[in-house]
Each structure stands twice: as C-alpha cells, then as structure tokens.
C-alpha cells in the first residue's frame, strides 16, 4: 500500500475582491511506504497547502488525498501519521512533557510505553531539562523541537513534516537529518517540505519540485546527482614531484588515465565535479 496518494488535487483560495488564488493546480503524487521524499519549492509554491490538504485541515476544491489508503477527510487516516505543522504552536500553558503525553493518549498508547517513549524523544530532542516548564517560555527552536518530539512519540509509519529544520540551529539541523536517516533505516515513510536543497540531497530517496502550484519534476535524488556529474577533478603528481589539479571532462576520463600511465604521472585522487541539487533546483524553477 502506498503511504500517501494524491490525485488531481486542486485548491483555490478566495483572493482579494472576488478573485481566486490557485494555490494548487491539479497535483498528482504518490509516495511509497518506506520512502523518504523531499518536497522542494520556493516560498508560496504550495507546499504547505498540499500538506494541509493531506492532513485534512483544508478541504480540496477538487481531487483528493489519501493516507494509507484512507481519505484525508477521515480522522482515522491520521492514525499512522506523525505531523509537524509549519511554524507549529502548541497549548502554551502545558509543559512539553504534558503535551507529549496528551498526544500519546490521543494515539491510544499504553501508559508504560508512552512514558518510556516520551522520555526517549524528549532526551533525543534535547528538551529533557525543559520538559516541566510551560511551553509559553520556550524559544522558537525549542517549540520546533517539541513539534518533532510529538510527531515521533507514537512511532508512526508515516511522517509528514512541514519544514522540519526551520528555526533550528546547526546542531538541531544535523539532528533532524540524523533522525530522518534513522527513520529511513527502519523503513518508515517521510514526506517533508523544504526550500533548502542541501537537506534534500543528503537524506532523500526522491525529490519533487513544486512552483506556483504545479509539480514540475519528480526524480530520484541518485539520478539527479548522477546526471549532474559533468567531469572530474584529478589530482596528479608529475615525475618531477610537482603536484597538479586538472579538470577532466566525463567522456575523457578513461583516455586521461591511460595517458597518465604513459606520461609517468601518478594519480593521487579523482573527485567527481557535479552540478549540485541547488543548481538543479534553480534551473527547474527558472524555467
């Protein structure tokens, strides 16, 4: 079964003076179970709109979204989902610990397991010391961490994260990447939005690029990076001991290596030089 299935999803918002804003124009997208999918797009592209439609917070103008085969307008479709909203806010009179246990009980977790998992996620997200304080006094990054903790606590199969790294310091960002890696290793599905290409390159299996409400490409990250290889930086040592860095085009690499043997150059290192994800993203969005 697919984790997320989006078919012909269309969303119109009422704009100024009777006009309509097309936030999403017929999106089709399928995310398999166990897949890590990066949803990439500039500001206002329609990422959050898509996610809110999938979570049943908005109603589609037409089309539909399903999670684990269940329509998004049913509360039960969210039974196996950990959701992190964009710039999340939680009942600020509760402490992180109280909120996590509230979430756990909504997922009908058994008390002992909940206590254990709650401790795990709070420690993992570095909230352990602050866990008893009301969230009113939390910093932005701490609230974001609570958001991640509450998405993880019930150990769901599907994670829907709207800009999981936003508001986090470099340590937090690295931690989120780590967490996503872990989830991937454990066969979980992660669907997350971002506009930072680097995040996608490191952790995703596939990436979709959306702009102005339209999905422009869906591609394997591997393929993009492969296709992006344009040539190689070759570090050689000449017979006289002098070192040199040469740029060799992809097609010429084989010939160069043979030639270097003839020239008695020794090759120390070969590094692929690629057009990275950032370039890929900018190119597509600019089209």
């Amino acid at each position: 079964m697919n984790a997320i299935e989006i078919t012909g999803l269309y969303k119109q918002f009422p704009g100024k003076r009777m006009t309509k804003v097309d936030a999403l124009k017929g999106l089709d997208l399928t995310i398999a179970a166990g897949e890590v999918f990066g949803f990439l797009g500039p500001n206002g592209a329609g990422k959050s709109t898509t996610i809110k439609l999938v979570m049943g917070l908005l109603r589609p103008t037409s089309g539909r979204a399903q999670i684990m085969g269940m329509d998004s307008n049913q509360a039960e479709s969210r039974r196996h989902v950990g959701y992190l909203p964009e710039n999340p806010a939680f009942y600020d009179y509760l402490s992180a610990e109280e909120y996590i246990s509230f979430v756990g009980s909504q997922f009908k977790m058994e008390a002992a397991l909940l206590a254990q998992r709650s401790e795990d996620v709070l420690k993992r997200l570095d909230l352990w010391d602050a866990r008893k304080r009301p969230m009113r006094g939390y910093s932005k990054g701490m609230v974001q961490r609570v958001g991640l903790a509450q998405a993880l606590v019930h150990d769901p199969d599907v994670y829907i994260l709207d800009e999981p790294m936003s508001g986090l310091d470099p340590i937090g960002r690295a931690l989120v990447k780590d967490i996503i890696f872990d989830l991937k290793a454990r066969g979980k599905c992660v669907f997350f939005s971002t506009h930072i290409t680097d995040d996608v390159e490191k952790v995703c299996d596939r990436v979709g690029v959306i702009n102005k409400g339209e999905l422009l490409v869906v591609e394997n990250v591997e393929t993009i990076l492969q296709r992006g290889v344009q040539g190689y930086s070759v570090f050689v040592m000449n017979p006289d001991g002098a070192k040199e860095e040469l740029f060799i085009e992809k097609a010429h690499l084989q010939a160069f290596i043979q030639q270097s043997v003839v020239n008695q150059q020794s090759i120390e290192k070969i590094e692929p030089r690629r057009k990275d994800m950032e370039a890929f993203f900018l190119e597509i969005v600019a089209q």
Partner: protein
C-alpha cells in the same frame, strides 16, 4: 475526547481570566457585612446577594471561556497541531465544550459551598421566620449553572462561524440579554394589552420566542430566597428543554466546524 476535556480544564485553571474571576469571588466575604447593614431580612438579603453573585460569576465564565475557547485555538494556531491528530473535528469541539461546561459546574459547586457558608453564618446571627431550604438553594444554583452551560453552547455555535472573538463574545451577551426577556415579551404579545402592535411585530416576537433560548425558566431565585416549594414538573420540563436545546446547538456547531478550513 476525555483527554480534550482534561486539557481544557487544565487550561482554564492556568488561565488568567479564571484567576481574575476567582478574585471576584472573594466578594463573597463582603456579603454578610453588606447584608447586615440593611438591619432587616439580613439572611434573605445575603441569600439574594450570594445567588446573584454566583449568577454573575458564572455569566462571566460562560461568556469569556465559552466565547474565546475555539477562537483562541484557531487564532493561536493550536488547531493545526491538535487537528493533525487522529481526532475528529466533532470530538474536538464537543471535548472543548464538555471541558468548559464541566468547569462551570465545578465553579457553581464551589461557589455554592461558599454561598452556603455565608448564608448559614448570616442565619445564625439573624434567625429568619421561614427556615432556609438548603436543597432548594442547591437546585436553584444547579439550574443557574445549566442556564450558563446552554449559553456556552450558544457561544460555541457563534465561534464556529466567526473568525474573530467579536461575534462569539458580543453575540453571546446579546443572546443572554434577549433570552432573559423572551418570556415576558411573548406573554405581552399574546395579551390583550398588545392590540396596538402590528401583526408583523407579533409574528416576529413569536418566532424569536421559539428560536432564542428561554432563560426565564431556569430562574429559581425567588423559590430559594423565600423557601417556596419547587414546581417539580416545571423543572423536569426545563431540564428536557435544556437537553434538547443544547443538543441542537451542538449538532449545528459540530456540522459547521467539521466543514471549516484551518488556514
């Protein structure tokens, strides 16, 4: 849903509105003093003042807690996180309502105990001709609480269609004021004295009478103050009215809220 109720109660206890209102409740301490100034019917007066104070506090709670509960959740974007859980809109809303209603009942019980203390203190010093019937007083407070729970349901219905707190808060106050006089207006319209009124006005008044909640029936203060017997059948009817009316309000609110978009 029970967890939503629990969370709601926790929120109210930690809320500043609640704490402010509890300070108001300290006015109970003044009641015997004020009542004794009158020199006559001190106990009746302290009973009247106690019941009115309870009514006033419950009204404040109903308007401010009922009118802002959903609005605050939407405004502060708590709905995104909470409705992202496997929780239906209906159970979320009913849970929010249940928590607020339960709190009003609790507050009524606590205030009732305070009123009990105040009145027994007064009656010990200034004995009355007619003994106070405590059960009547308790039932009076209970029906007062039911009245405000009904008002909370009205506030929730307003909240589901509104994007600001303006309609829920002021709409609720307006409903409360109008609902307090519908009975009198209805009786006037159907009396010979209203001949001069145009039939249209009469029709309108009658429609409003059936549409607006009728709070008059919940008022048992006179019975409590003068220890008059309670109209038993009337009370049953009022209780049934309460159940049906709240049921209708909540179903309408739940239907609207479940179609609402969280933007």
């Amino acid at each position: 849903m029970t967890t939503i109720i629990r969370i709601t109660l926790k929120g109210i206890f930690r809320d500043r509105v609640f704490q402010g209102i509890m300070v108001t409740a300290c006015a109970f301490l003044l009641i015997p003093v004020i009542a004794s100034l009158s020199m006559r019917q001190v106990t009746e007066l302290s009973l009247t003042l106690s019941l009115s104070l309870i009514s006033f506090i419950l009204l404040l709670l109903a308007v401010f807690l009922g009118g802002t509960s959903l609005w605050k959740d939407i405004e502060r974007r708590y709905t995104f996180s909470v409705l992202g859980l496997p929780l239906s809109r209906q159970s979320y809303m009913i849970g929010r309502f249940g928590g607020t209603a339960l709190f009003v009942l609790l507050a009524a019980a606590v205030l009732g105990v305070a009123a009990f203390a105040v009145v027994s203190y007064s009656s010990a010093i200034y004995p009355t001709d007619r003994p106070i019937v405590w059960s009547t007083m308790a039932i009076c407070i209970l029906f007062d609480a039911l009245k405000y729970i009904l008002l909370i349901a009205v506030a929730f219905l307003f909240s589901t269609v509104s994007t600001s707190f303006f309609l829920p808060v002021f709409g609720t106050i307006a409903t409360f004021l109008a609902g307090g006089v519908t009975q009198q207006v209805f009786e006037f319209v159907n009396s010979p004295a209203s001949k001069a009124l145009s039939p249209l006005v009469k029709k309108l008044a009658t429609i409003l009478y059936y549409l607006l909640p009728n709070f008059g029936a919940f008022d048992l203060k006179v019975n409590a103050i003068y220890s008059l017997p309670l109209p038993f059948e009337g009370l049953l009817l009022t209780a049934a009215y309460f159940v049906v009316y709240v049921g209708l309000l909540l179903s309408a609110a739940a239907t609207i809220f479940s179609r609402r978009e969280m933007r």
